[in-house]
């Protein structure tokens, strides 16, 4: 576009002003990128769940256990393809503050139901045959510097051993990854048998059941069947899709989504006011020049477009810088935050959204001055006539 040079020159005429406005936009999109990535990470558990996996928990609270006998009962229900179970171990390594998310599971059925986990076959076989063995997630292994073969003493802040103390000696038999990037790998799996036979609480209990339905369409029917089976028993159940379960958990943190939305919205609105004002002022200062351009023969429409291009360029300049830095910050933080938020990254979704908002910002801040330039009357602009 031939007018690009003119637009560029107009943008860069007052360097300090350009710097300040670009900086303000940069801040807005830095906040946007960082905060939206945070939100996305909180919801990631929700999105990543397989659509035919259901979770069965105690109706009152997932912290209450279910009888072991439920496993076979649920397997017998129509539409259920494979059932497995897990117990929350409450693990920590060396100090209670150093929490390790640990599940005590039935190895074979767990790996069947969670078919999106990938382990080298020899490591898997080793784990299956070693009751004191652990399967460690890739992220967890990385965070602690653990390798296959390491002997790790894992303690529990809930359970005690029959033989005394709360520490279980374990050996790392394998490291697992997800078959997709976003799958959580910051936890550890141990044998249910090892755990159950050595802990003091007694009773054959499981924390919750996870199962695959033979078809996602059967989810609702299967859920109802399971909950009906155990209604009015000592341990009533609540079955939901893994997605729903994870979402309900995040919801408990309180309206996090609303807080985040509120902050980002206010940031944007403030920037909008600041930048919009600056654009209006900048164009007003150029009234005389716009009149000259019109006199030379530049059409009003052409000038209108030039103003909008200018405001959009400004928005994209600051916006891309902001998103870029947000990306770098998030990448750095994701290592630190791996324990709480395993899925922290600035993904394509957030980026595309940001691009859209850059465009919107550019248009909104540019529209008023653009219309003013469009309607500018040469005669009145020159103050004569």
């Amino acid at each position: 576009m031939k007018d690009f040079y003119l637009i560029y020159k107009n943008l860069t005429r007052k360097k300090m002003r350009l710097f300040l406005t670009t900086f303000a936009i940069f801040i807005a999109f830095l906040i946007f990128g960082a905060v939206m990535s945070l939100r996305s990470a909180l919801n990631a558990g929700v999105e990543m769940s397989a659509d035919n996996r259901l979770v069965v928990v105690h109706k009152t609270s997932f912290t209450n256990p279910l009888p072991y006998s439920y496993v076979n009962k649920v397997q017998a229900i129509e539409g259920v393809s494979k059932v497995t179970h897990a117990n929350w171990f409450g693990g920590y390594f060396q100090e209670p503050a150093n929490q390790i998310v640990t599940f005590a599971v039935d190895p074979e059925t767990y790996m069947e139901v969670y078919s999106d986990l990938v382990v080298p076959p020899e490591q898997l076989a080793a784990w299956y045959s070693n009751q004191t063995g652990m399967l460690v997630g890739e992220r967890m292994a990385k965070a602690n510097g653990w390798q296959v073969g390491d002997k790790i003493p894992l303690s529990s802040n809930i359970f005690s051993r029959k033989s005394g103390g709360q520490t279980w000696e374990m050996e790392i038999n394998g490291i697992f990854k997800g078959n997709e990037d976003k799958i959580d790998t910051s936890y550890v799996l141990m044998h249910y048998k090892y755990f159950n036979e050595t802990q003091t609480f007694g009773g054959d209990n499981v924390g919750w059941l996870i199962l695959n339905t033979s078809n996602a369409d059967l989810n609702e029917q299967v859920s109802k069947a399971i909950d009906t089976e155990f209604a009015n028993s000592n341990a009533e159940t609540e079955t939901s899709t893994e997605q729903a379960f994870n979402k309900a958990f995040v919801d408990q943190i309180g309206n996090i989504g609303l807080i985040i939305f509120g902050v980002v919205f206010m940031a944007f609105f403030t920037i909008l006011i600041v930048v919009g004002n600056t654009m209006v002022l900048a164009i007003r200062e150029r009234t005389g020049e716009i009149a000259v351009l019109k006199t030379l023969g530049f059409s009003s429409i052409r000038i209108f477009k030039m103003v909008l291009v200018e405001s959009c360029l400004l928005a994209f300049l600051g916006g891309l810088l902001g998103i870029g830095v947000a990306y770098i910050l998030i990448k750095g933080a994701s290592e630190q935050m791996a324990r709480f938020l395993p899925n922290l990254s600035l993904d394509q979704d957030v980026f595309l959204q940001a691009l859209l908002y850059m465009l919107v910002l550019g248009l909104i801040t540019g529209i008023a001055p653009a219309i003013r330039a469009l309607r500018l009357n040469i005669i009145t602009a020159f103050g004569r006539g």
Binding site: I27, V35, K59, S61, N64, S233, G254, V274
Partner: protein, 395 residues
């Protein structure tokens, strides 16, 4: 000196009077400052409210016993025999009934949150009258205490605020069992008000706990008795428990929302940078707008300093107005706002946003910093406007 003062006063007056010419730019600066202050105050109020709820619950002279490594009452366990052993620890206060102890249970039940209409976990605590009396500030707001051995329970004021269906006289079902709400209690606005209380024995029965408990509270002779109690625990082989003061326990629990305050400072600082950019823009424009006037004054004989002061005063004034607006907005929208979030033990903790004078000072300070920086550099430029500008015709 007085000439300097009167010059400065005159310039300040002229600057303020010329503000309407730059109305929108000035309003933008006020708005940006207000938003920064409001956001900072909101997050700090959230953190302070949560913290206050947790802190005020703990007493320095109450000892809490839990199994080693538990971290929270939910995860702990204590048998009847162990409770008896602990009772005899040196340093535990006694009255005519014996050692002042309260072995307690802590189970999880469900409630429907009014705000989200979704379910969330609430603690149901099993205790007896001695336990109730150990909570400082305990009063019954409505109804009466539960009768031991029955399915009656009392509800904390916080639960009543945030959850549906816990009003006096209501019947509630948890799983197979139903309970009756016979009273509403308050403990001065702390975390205990996010709990349901019922008779310990009844809970033991219904939840198949036999004669076990989860934690034990004991009134100490004094806060200094703690070390001797800890010694006693170490020495007793049959006990796998540790002790801390109740206030230490809650302060550790409260750490979980510490991130909120950190998040608040980080976000508002970042936004403050953005607001600063906007403020600088406004002030540079102001100086350019008034270049002719400044130069004319200088030609008449006004000092550099008065030009500097004039601009600084304008910037600080705008920022200060912004901080007042922001503080007012935060106060109106957030002070006393009730909210609940996930505490330790995966149960909901009900708290209120708390805006204290100290927080307002934080907010105003931040705005004044913005005002100072955004005023300083343009003011410097104002001080250096060459007199010749007064003689140039506008082009």
């Amino acid at each position: 000196m007085s000439s300097l003062l009167s010059q400065s006063a005159a310039v300040i007056k002229m600057n303020i009077q010329s503000l309407p010419r730059r109305l929108w730019m000035s309003l933008a600066m006020v708005f940006a400052s207000a938003v920064v202050v409001a956001i900072l105050l909101a997050f700090l109020a959230m953190a302070k409210g949560f913290d206050a709820t947790m802190q005020s619950a703990g007493s320095d002279d109450v000892a809490m016993f839990m199994r080693i490594g538990s971290g929270a009452e939910l995860n702990s366990s204590l048998s009847r025999e162990q409770a008896n052993l602990i009772e005899n620890a040196p340093g535990i206060a006694r009255d005519e009934q014996g050692p002042i102890v309260s072995p307690e249970l802590y189970v999880i039940v469900d409630g429907v949150k009014k705000s989200s209409q979704s379910e969330a976990n609430i603690p149901l605590r099993g205790l007896n009258e001695r336990g109730v009396n150990m909570r400082k500030g305990f009063t019954l707001l409505e109804g009466r205490m539960f009768t031991p051995g029955t399915d009656e329970l009392i509800v904390g004021a916080g639960i009543l605020k945030e959850f549906e269906g816990f009003e006096l006289g209501q019947e509630i079902r948890f799983g197979k069992y139903s309970w009756k709400v016979v009273g509403v209690f308050s403990t001065g606005g702390n975390v205990f008000e996010s709990e349901l209380w019922a008779d310990a024995k009844v809970i033991q029965n219904l939840y198949n706990r036999g004669s076990s408990f989860q934690s034990l509270r004991a009134r100490m002779e004094s806060a200094e008795s703690l070390p001797s109690i800890a010694e006693y625990l170490k020495g007793e082989a049959r006990l796998t428990h540790e002790v801390q003061s109740e206030s230490a326990y809650f302060s550790a629990q409260g750490k979980s929302l510490e991130y909120m305050a950190i998040f608040g400072w980080v976000i508002s600082s970042v936004m403050a940078l953005g607001a600063l950019a906007g403020a600088l823009n406004t002030m540079y424009t102001s100086v350019a707008d008034r270049a002719m006037e400044i130069a004319t004054l200088r030609a008449i004989g006004f000092s550099h300093f008065s030009a500097f002061i004039g601009t600084m005063a304008e910037a600080m004034t705008l920022a200060a107005i912004g901080s007042l607006v922001g503080s007012l907005a935060a106060f109106v929208f957030f002070d006393g706002l009730s909210a609940s979030t996930l505490g330790g033990s995966f149960t909901q903790v009900v708290f209120s946003f708390q805006l204290t004078p100290e927080l307002f000072i934080n907010g105003i300070s931040m705005a004044l910093v913005i005002g100072f920086i955004s005023g300083f550099f343009p003011a410097w430029r104002a001080a250096r406007v060459p007199v010749i500008v007064a003689f140039q015709t506008a082009r």
